[in-house]
Amino acid sequence: MNQLTTTAIILNRTDYGEADRILTLLTPDYGKLTLLAKGVRRVKSKLAGGIELFSVSEITFIKGRGEVGTLVSTRLAKHYKHIVGDLDRTMLGYELIKKLHKATEDEPEEGYFDLLRQAFEALDDTSVDPRLVQLWFLMQLLRLGGYMPNLETDIEGKKLSADMTYTFSFDGSAFAQHPEGVFAANHIKFLRLGFGGHSALALAHVQGVGRLVQEVQGIVTTMTTSHIRS
């Protein structure tokens, strides 16, 4: 039988029969996989190693005739220890996994595995604020889903200017010039970095990142609520 090997992050596990488990995994090469793990209940629990929360594993599996394949073996490649050492990071990491699982209910495009892995890397870095990781993650979900805001021209089609202030129009997913607008050049640059596919770790080095995260949060979370399945 043709055995395939890939890296994987587990999204979900459920019981199947007396001794088996059904696993939903995200992989870079095969997208979302549903695999039957035979005879792995409790005594050889996932917590012992192999497939765990906040881990990346190397898996070998056999493709099934239908939608469910069979897991042959797993090996823990990396466990993100610092996520589990901190309650806020753990809760956020858990929410990100859930969100991504929901957002990719249909066959996910390329890029989602890397997104989750990079989110784990950033959460595992104790110098990076978890709120930045959360914001960055939502930006990537929007980007991968094709829902990016217009960060080049305003709602009237004029190039965004460093000298102007803006409000944000959710209808047009674009900025609108306003003399008392709360958004300025630094917000737009920050959003460009975030939506431009830069890593959370790169964003963490932006000057005044803490305040920027707070100030653009509303744009990103409102767009996420509107466009991303939850």
Binding site: R41, M91, K98
Partner: protein
């Protein structure tokens, strides 16, 4: 009289809590860590779990994530009894209730044995899965 799974990393505190809950009429199995607790749950078939979030190695949330992934434990009552201060738990408490069906969150330094026993008695899962 119920089966209580107590996940408590401190040997002496674990012993004290166990003695108090046994005095209240329950059967108690103490596990010091998340892995041990999953194995213990299989042996005990708990009616209620009391769990500290700050464990060594795998934390209490990893335990809950694993525990709730098994069909027969999806409605087992869970109480958190933790050293994490309430002001640090803040938003996480709501998420714990929502995601893991946690029934109560207790702060160890301010929770007496009697209060723990009362919380346990209040939230024990009935045989039909109801608390």
């Amino acid at each position: 009289m119920a089966n209580i799974l107590l996940i408590e990393p401190d040997t002496v505190l674990g012993r004290t809590y166990r003695q108090a809950l046994e005095h209240a009429g329950h059967t108690v199995l103490v596990a010091r860590g998340a892995q041990q607790a999953i194995n213990a749950a299989e042996d005990l078939a708990p009616d209620l779990v009391v769990v500290e979030l700050q464990l060594a190695g795998h934390n209490g949330i990893e335990f809950l994530h694993e525990f709730r992934s098994y069909g027969e434990w999806q409605s087992t009552s869970v109480i958190i009894n933790t050293f994490i201060a309430p002001h640090l738990l803040a938003d996480a408490e709501e998420a714990l209730r929502r995601n893991f069906g946690v029934k109560a969150v207790l702060y160890k330094p301010r929770t007496s044995l009697q209060q723990l026993i009362s919380a346990v008695d209040r939230h024990i899962t009935a045989p039909d899965g109801q608390a």
